[in-house]
């Protein structure tokens, strides 16, 4: 098996790479796609990212075509349909890769080694290879031919958003990086910038980062708060409500749409705003619960981050790949059999505010997960901007997928890597919270507080409000959201 690239670096360089992150100014993109003009871009794979990025780039004036594996073309698979029905030239690797100036590898991460090995010999001298996720380079230590430039342009949103936001005239926040070992002509940054501009990402904000920082933070976010916490939270909250006699249809609906509703508040005003949606007594309750949750879960977050940093995570996952995904497929089947997954949302009316009032525990879980993920990442040397995007920023986007079709949809939308990490987290977190859940009653999940007495202690409320507002994720969130809001007057 391959070498973990990160582990080959001396500590000094590891730290430097992890800490690489700069929020770029829009002025740095004034050349638009100029650096890509006259260049031939060939996308490999036409899935979620492949199609969305390709359409955006073409609409920005770039020359885009698709190289698909032969079977996909012969069998007219979905990827072939995606590309050809949208009027793109589609060809085999042999037909298209040799003509390409830039090759965009947008196949699933698991396939990167075989795909890159297949296309590298076909690539033009001095061409550019790009990724939207650095796993292959960082965790698998893929070595790229020395004459090739290697860059990353990673939109921090699912493919559908990448396309929709572009069509509106905007874009999604995007992370770009140049693999310093592969920048022979020093043109990596210019190409990455033009590519980001071609997808519209520059309008929403671009972070100039490194392959390493991207991978180590992306993995951390998706396993813990983004997917793991939402999965664990869904299962625990549902079982608890049913156990306490709440109608299963109601419980199912409260959770399926609850994540989306409460994280919508997160999106606009951070953790503070999410908790401000609660009544004062409920807010204090949610705060206390989340403090307790953070204490219980902190070792688990640390373990995930440690395993990600030292490569344990990717190694065990790759072992599972080699073992025909036995664990992944088993866990996927297990998830499908859970009571939450099998209980359809009931035909009941739940108002927007009710999702908050009756979902105090869910709010506490989101708060605990966001803050822990952020704290753990920054403690590991990841810059706050990056940690924010990989935690708080993406939570509402993942919550949307659960609203569509529950955990099935979430796990189908995210990458296999994220899904694998999500199950890992879930398996460790469920037993970890067992004792905590014993004391949970319907006042914090399902029915809401019995508000005969809505009074709270002033001093305590001030304490809670101050603690909420002074968390570092709120500080960086205010800056980054402020930047988005400056341009994006969508409320």
């Amino acid at each position: 098996m391959s070498n973990n690239y990160f582990n080959t670096l001396p500590l000094r360089e590891q730290l430097e790479q992890l800490g690489k992150c700069r929020f770029m100014s829009i002025d740095e993109f004034s050349d638009g796609v100029e650096a890509l003009k006259g260049k031939k871009m060939v996308v490999i794979g036409c899935g979620a990212q492949g199609l969305a990025q390709g359409m955006n780039l073409r609409d920005s004036g770039c020359d885009v075509s698709y190289a698909l594996r032969e079977a996909a073309i012969a069998e007219k698979r979905q990827s072939w349909k995606n590309a050809s029905e949208n009027g793109f030239v589609v060809g085999t690797y042999e037909e298209l890769i040799p003509t390409a100036d830039v090759v965009l590898n947008l196949t699933p991460d698991k396939q990167h080694t075989s795909v890159v090995n297949a296309i590298m010999p076909l690539m033009k001298q001095g061409a550019c290879l790009s990724y939207s996720h650095g796993f292959n380079i960082v965790e698998e230590g893929m070595k790229i031919r020395e004459d090739l430039t290697v860059i990353m342009v990673a939109p921090k949103c699912p493919g559908s958003e990448v396309r929709n936001e572009y069509v509106r005239g905007f874009g999604v926040p995007t992370l770009i990086a140049v693999h310093e070992d592969n920048d022979p002509k020093g043109e990596g940054l210019a190409l990455a910038k033009a590519y980001a501009a071609g997808t519209g990402g520059h309008k929403a904000g671009v972070l100039m980062s490194s392959f390493i920082a991207e991978v180590k933070s992306d993995l951390m976010g998706e396993q813990t708060i983004l997917c793991g916490m939402l999965q664990t939270g869904s299962l625990l909250c549902f079982d608890k409500m049913v156990e306490e006699g709440i109608d299963p249809g109601y419980a199912s609906k409260l959770i399926q749409y609850g994540w989306e509703t409460i994280t919508e508040a997160l999106k606009y005003g951070g953790v503070t705003n999410m908790l401000d949606r609660l009544s004062n007594p409920a807010k204090i309750k949610a705060f206390d619960l989340s403090e307790e949750l953070k204490q219980i879960m902190r070792p688990l977050y640390n373990k995930h981050q440690d395993d990600i940093i030292d490569g344990t995570f990717s190694r065990t996952m790759m072992e599972d790949w080699a073992n025909d995904d036995k664990n992944l497929l088993g866990w996927r089947a297990e998830t499908a059999e859970t009571a939450f997954e099998k209980t359809p949302a009931g035909d009941v009316e739940i108002s927007e505010q009710e999702y908050f009032d009756n979902g105090i525990l869910m709010v506490a879980m989101v708060k605990a997960g966001v803050e822990l993920a952020f704290e753990t990442m920054t403690a590991a040397g990841i810059i706050a901007d990056s940690a924010y995007y990989e935690s708080l920023h993406e939570t509402p986007l993942i919550a949307n997928t659960i609203a569509r079709k529950k955990l099935y949809e979430m796990n189908a939308t995210i990458s296999d890597t994220a899904e694998y990490g999500c199950y890992l987290y879930n398996h460790a977190c469920l037993p970890l919270l067992a004792d905590f859940m014993k004391d949970i009653k319907t006042d914090v999940i399902g029915k809401g507080l019995d508000l005969e007495d809505t009074g709270v202690d002033n001093a305590r409320l001030i304490e809670v409000n101050t603690a909420l507002r002074s968390h570092p994720v709120e500080a960086i969130g205010a800056v980054l959201r402020g930047h988005m809001a400056d341009m994006k007057k969508i409320v």
């Binding site: 609409d59 004036g61 009027g87 005239g169 905007f170 007057k489 409320v491």
Partner: protein
């Protein structure tokens, strides 16, 4: 009192006709009749005082004593006095009828007359000859005559016109004291003059009673306000922004030239080998049933259709697929459709929605210049929405959203304005609103309009080119 007009058609000396009026007024109601100039609002008021020749239909329940104030009534009295003078001319030189005589004609309540004379400050004119009064003074006399006639119904056609601020206020206050005893019908053209006691509004358009609105129906009231505003305002379509000017196009070239276009979904051809050229300054109407490919065809022009890269399309100087960006194309196009309205789900304020038209974006992502803000405000004024500049777009009614999106599409004065079924889903009043705006735009700009609708029969003034698509087998005509 309960007045009933059933299918009433009234002719006025063959100059004007009110058609098939259905209307009921009872004595707890106070109406305003409104409408554009020449719409027939004064005629309808006059019918209540017995004017016109009934051609068909019925009118029932008119009270015996109707107090009428109108320019016509005023003119009639002046004319009568003039004739009297002419008749007297052989005898002595007539001084004409003095005001006090005019006021006491027909057994009016003398106490009330003198109270009103005092209120209107006419004491010093009581002995003056009526025909020597100024227009404003004679109007006051007419008002006093009507008010003092102990009417069972008061019909006041533009009663506030030409009154000084003080008199106006006094009259409004006086009318307010009558609300319990006398039902009133006022003809007024300005919403800000509608007295608080008015309970209903009748809107007259082209001799028909188009809308009857309960004042408490806030939405309908607002829409009517806007409609009247658009029909009567002197405001022009605001100019383009010279700083965000659209690049000049070669005048010799067509705006759009589609060569043998195909659109295929799942192997099924929706549009087959279609040629279409839109020259500058041509207005077009595109029609055809659902599924005939209208929207697909449009999105080839706007660059929203992925198959625009596999067709021979020339738009605004660009041969598509040669390295241009869709934003370079979109800058020449203003676009309104139901689909856009569904997409435009934003809480952006109205001013910013209009400004987003400069950038062809849904939502505004760029800092607007002061000039752009000013232009947007001019559009809001034209639409009668000045007071709502910062209201979130998604709080507007469906019809108001449509109006605003039309303004957004026009704000940059694009060479081509595409209106894809602009009235779809709108009720009649909102349709009127949208059409009034479109007519204003067509009349005032050099933009070519491409109007799309289901029905080829639904024609718009000024459009002279037609393309009709058939389902599956499209053909140019």
């Amino acid at each position: 009192m309960n007045i009933r007009l059933d299918n009433l058609t009234v002719n006025f000396d063959d100059r004007f006709q009110l058609d098939q009026i259905n209307w009921q007024l009872d004595d707890t109601q106070h109406w305003v009749i409104t409408g554009a100039n020449g719409s027939g609002k004064s005629a309808l008021a006059a019918v209540l005082a017995g004017a016109g020749d009934n051609l068909s239909g019925t009118i029932e329940g008119l009270p015996a004593r109707v107090g009428l104030v109108s320019f016509e009534a005023q003119a009639e009295l002046i004319e009568r006095e003039r004739k009297k003078d002419d008749a007297d001319i052989m005898d002595v030189i007539s001084e004409g009828t003095p005001v006090h005589e005019i006021l006491s004609e027909g057994g009016r309540n003398p106490a009330l007359v003198s109270q009103l004379v005092e209120m209107f400050k006419l004491e010093s004119l009581l002995n003056r000859s009526f025909r020597k009064l100024s227009t404003g003074e004679s109007r006051k006399v007419i008002l006093i005559r009507a008010l003092a006639s102990e009417p069972e119904l008061l019909v006041l056609d533009e009663p506030f016109d030409g009154l000084d601020a003080h008199t106006l206020e006094m009259l409004q206050q006086y009318l307010a004291t009558l609300v319990e005893t006398v039902p009133m019908v006022l003809v007024l053209n300005r919403f800000d003059e509608f007295p608080d006691f008015v309970t209903h509004i009748a809107y007259v358009d082209h001799g028909r009673l188009a809308y009857q609105i309960d004042r408490n129906d806030k939405r309908a009231y607002n829409e009517l306000y806007q409609l009247l505003h658009l029909k009567t305002t002197d405001l022009e379509v605001p100019a383009a922004d010279p700083e965000t000017a659209i690049p000049r196009l070669d005048p010799a070239q067509p705006l759009v030239k589609l060569n043998s276009i195909n659109i295929t979904y799942d192997g099924h051809r929706i549009i087959d080998s279609l040629d279409w050229t839109i020259e500058r300054n041509q207005h077009w109407q595109l029609s055809g049933p659902n599924g005939s490919g209208k929207t697909g065809l449009l999105s080839l022009i706007t660059g929203d259709h992925p198959q625009c890269y596999v067709n021979d399309i020339f738009v605004f100087g660009f041969q598509r697929g040669k390295g241009e960006s869709i934003w370079q194309i979109k800058q020449f196009i203003g676009y309104v459709s139901t689909a856009l309205q569904w997409e435009y789900k934003v809480g952006t304020g109205l001013r910013n929605v209009i400004i987003s038209g400069f950038y062809d974006s849904i939502g505004l992502y760029t800092k607007a210049t002061d000039r752009q803000k000013k232009i947007a405000d001019e559009w809001l004024a034209l639409l009668g929405m000045s007071d709502r500049a910062d209201t979130p777009f998604n709080k507007l009614s469906y019809g108001d959203q449509r109006l605003l999106l039309i303004a957004r599409a026009m704000v940059k004065h694009p060479p081509l304005l595409i209106l894809d079924e602009p009235c779809l889903g709108l009720d009649d009043m909102n349709r009127q609103l949208v059409l009034a705006l479109i007519e204003k735009i067509c009349a005032a700009s050099e933009t070519s309009v491409l109007y799309v609708n289901h029905h080829a029969e639904d024609k718009i003034k000024g459009i002279e080119n037609y393309l009709k698509l058939e389902k599956r087998e499209p053909a140019a005509s």
